[in-house]
Symmetry: C2
Amino acid sequence: MNANESLEKKRHTLAHLLAAAVLELYPEAKPTIGPAIDNGFYYDFEFPADKRPAEADLKDIEKRMRKLLPSWKEMTGETVKLEAAQARFSHNPYKLELIEDIMVKKEPVTLYTAGGFTDLCRGGHCEAPAKDIAPDSFKLTRLAGAYWRGDESKTQLTRIYGLAFGTKKELDAYETMMKEAEKRDHRKLGKEMDIFEFDDDVGPGLPLWLPNGAVIAEELEKLAKETEFAAGYVRVRTPHIAKDSMYLKSGHLPYYEDSMFPPMEYEGGKYYLKAMNCPHHHKIFAARPKSYRDLPLRLAEYGTCYRHEKSGELFGLMRVRMLEMNDSHIYCTEEQFASEFRAVNEMYLRYFKIFGIEKYVMRFSTHDPKRLGDKYVDEPALWKKTEDMVRQVLIDSKIPYVEVPNEAAFYGPKIDVQVWSAIGREFTLATNQVDFAVPKRFGLTYVDKDNKEKTPLCIHRAPLGTHERFIGFLIEHYGGNFPLWLAPIQVKVIPVAEAHLEAAKKVDDSLRAAMIRSELDTSNDSFGKKVRNAKTSRAPYFIIIGEKDLAAGKVTLESRDHGQIGQLSAGEALARFGTEIQERKAS
Amino acid sequence: MNANESLEKKRHTLAHLLAAAVLELYPEAKPTIGPAIDNGFYYDFEFPADKRPAEADLKDIEKRMRKLLPSWKEMTGETVKLEAAQARFSHNPYKLELIEDIMVKKEPVTLYTAGGFTDLCRGGHCEAPAKDIAPDSFKLTRLAGAYWRGDESKTQLTRIYGLAFGTKKELDAYETMMKEAEKRDHRKLGKEMDIFEFDDDVGPGLPLWLPNGAVIAEELEKLAKETEFAAGYVRVRTPHIAKDSMYLKSGHLPYYEDSMFPPMEYEGGKYYLKAMNCPHHHKIFAARPKSYRDLPLRLAEYGTCYRHEKSGELFGLMRVRMLEMNDSHIYCTEEQFASEFRAVNEMYLRYFKIFGIEKYVMRFSTHDPKRLGDKYVDEPALWKKTEDMVRQVLIDSKIPYVEVPNEAAFYGPKIDVQVWSAIGREFTLATNQVDFAVPKRFGLTYVDKDNKEKTPLCIHRAPLGTHERFIGFLIEHYGGNFPLWLAPIQVKVIPVAEAHLEAAKKVDDSLRAAMIRSELDTSNDSFGKKVRNAKTSRAPYFIIIGEKDLAAGKVTLESRDHGQIGQLSAGEALARFGTEIQERKAS
């Protein structure tokens, strides 16, 4: 049993314990269902309208759970007859409905008991709760409304949420992380820092990047373009729409239609907003005859795609309908595949270093041979070959990875990249996929050395994911304190008093002439207020110019993250910024 | 009478002369209509199927025109009775139909006669053709099919085209220009140089930018971004779609609907592809409260817009359905307007200098006071004020301009920029418009010094027009020989023989490390073939590395446009390229 399974059992057991405690304090409550979740557990109850617990009552329930826990020496299950189960829960219509379902599915009816409390359950608990669960490793957090079976037409229940981890230390760490995550919430900081905005007339899930957000997006693109130029990529640009014939060819229609925006009826045909860039790139590959000398061909584009997401699932920049993708498709021969795939993974690692991403893992999804020709394209030899190559690349590169069977794309094995932000939250950012099916559908070929026409392999990759999600991640990761090269405002120039404005303006002009995003404070505010405003702006550097500076022909430099730096010449400050920006240093 | 009117009269007269000559040589021909056009004239005839002239016959017809011309001493018009006209053209059903139309409109029927040839005509000819028209200032160029009244269901006629200018010299210059334009045709060079491609599955009018085209687009964007950063613009990024409510607010729906792509029916509403960026920018302005301190606010975006153009009117990159626009909207107070507008015009001039555009004129379109409240927004004082300011800016800046009454936008006066390519062809590229209507419709306001809410003026401007049209223009302007900073391949590195490949690779690597788009010839081709290939690539520079170079530790540099430069060190070559690129020198 691994750590995850053990934790899930604890959480599941705690849901039972919660129900037991609630029933002692609220005998009229009717327990319904109570599963383990990602960070703990919950249980949904029906309470009489006048006897519902309030948030303030959670402490008492929690106390009662702790009081009961020592008596839960063991937890045992038994299979019972249908009638016995129905008799036991005759006063609880929810449980009776659940028993009904079990009956329909012809599954055995099982009951689990601990400390005298019995619940209808499929199992998966600690065997010895009193021993296995530390009494300080869990807590109840909040109440919420929930409909029976998630159906708005049914009874509204009261859900009680609890957190649970292996130890108190882990629980505390989680709570600290969540508090920090709340402070760093990308929606909150995104508004505060004027990074993005939504507008009803534009539409939900379609962010407008305000100037400060556009700066970050452009810096990311600059990084990607430089990195990709050095890695031998070429760039292309394609329309945001195409005719249905293209997506019928690629197979996105009808299989992916639900994730696409509906078509525009135009000139007797249908045009779709693109939900991915690959078909357009395939068309560019096909636009000119290709020979083995042209491969590997690495086509890159910052293409904006549009995907349908249910409005209830939209979430800040994390779940949107517009995706500005740092996309690329690498067309290569089988011989070139391993080194190309490896180069892509290594590009990820270089990016992680730049962004200070220290914890990451690659999820390597493979096919299931039983599903060939059904879920997966029926090319057993190519599956084996590419999966072996991908695995070897991961091993050779000493990249941490986990192998996940039966989760590949239909056209080949893939790697999803999970990264953890500075405060320890997990994000799925990027992807690196092998495709040996779609190039054939598009009739893509190259003439090989032996003068034969062959179909290239295609690698789909997007190391920085989408701007939306990556910038959302970065806002949390940096807590809004972007390093110099990414900061919307890089330097605030502050004259101590009006007499220093002219000199300050000169410094500001020289910084802007060097394409540094400096901002001069021309207000009549007091010096103290100007400094406070500069700090609020989260600019990584402030340049202060006062009497002493004027006299010395220098400026005073202060860093957002490291405090006072001291007096230096304007030229020295400029050189310092230049190096820090060019090297894309962490702050 | 200005030169243009006089030329149009000549061309119109020559159409008559063509009809007279045709009737002498083809007595059974039935003349229909024959107008003056941009570069000459044409006339549509019905010929009996077995007696149609071929291209080879044009010389004879032209000769006959020259023979008749001296007898066309004067051209006179007369108004005749309907019946008289009908009797005269009783054998020509086309002319009878035209007479019918004149009758319906209750206009006078006029006939024009010269040298014994009489035609139904509204007038506008030379009074003394023999004297006014130089016999060598015109020529017949080609035949084409044309339907009577442009209607495919009607008779197919034969159109004879002619060129006509004031003098033989002007005619020759035009022909030379057109021959050169044909060589430089952006569709031909665009294909040859792998700049763009169309694809049936993507859709007509929707170019795919191949890697070489994407390079040019990115360099143009870099130029614009640098220029705009220096001019105090900030950048934004907005979705390519929006809900109908936005375009109802802006007034584009329903007034501009015919130029937009049809909507997507989505979530019970309608979403449109954007045909312009202004409404999205207005939303960004509105996203945060504004004070006079925030103005002028210059929002810039490389936004891709989509517009419906009739498929018959699509033409290479010149008439497309996708428009990558270097767009910006400047929000300012009335006091700031003149200097902002002037700064925009000056930005145009800086661009012209970079691109070597020597001939240009600004078309200043003003309103017609009689159409206030109908064609133009009813703000007489603001019209007068802004037009006066715009005119003053043009005069002060000494920019060549023409004033065009009654062609303003409905929301304010505008300037369209006409430029001439290196071979003398005219293009309309860019626009600079004042808008004092739409900001009000969007409820845009700022708090002024007096604490009152006011509506800003908005300047719409796009100095580099769209990528599509501008790159199409540049292909012709440079004849495909792009200056170093814009060239898709900047440097070709050529080892004389295999022994020099390693040294050549080092040079290529060092250039690419400096972000120079160099390409190493690794082929086994002969040296001569390699040099020929380099020339075909139109790279502005070739670096050649042979025995003598290796011995001297140098390279040999050759320029596409200036030939041999000589031996220098690789570092010196790199520095030379760096400067030339950074200064965006003409080649």
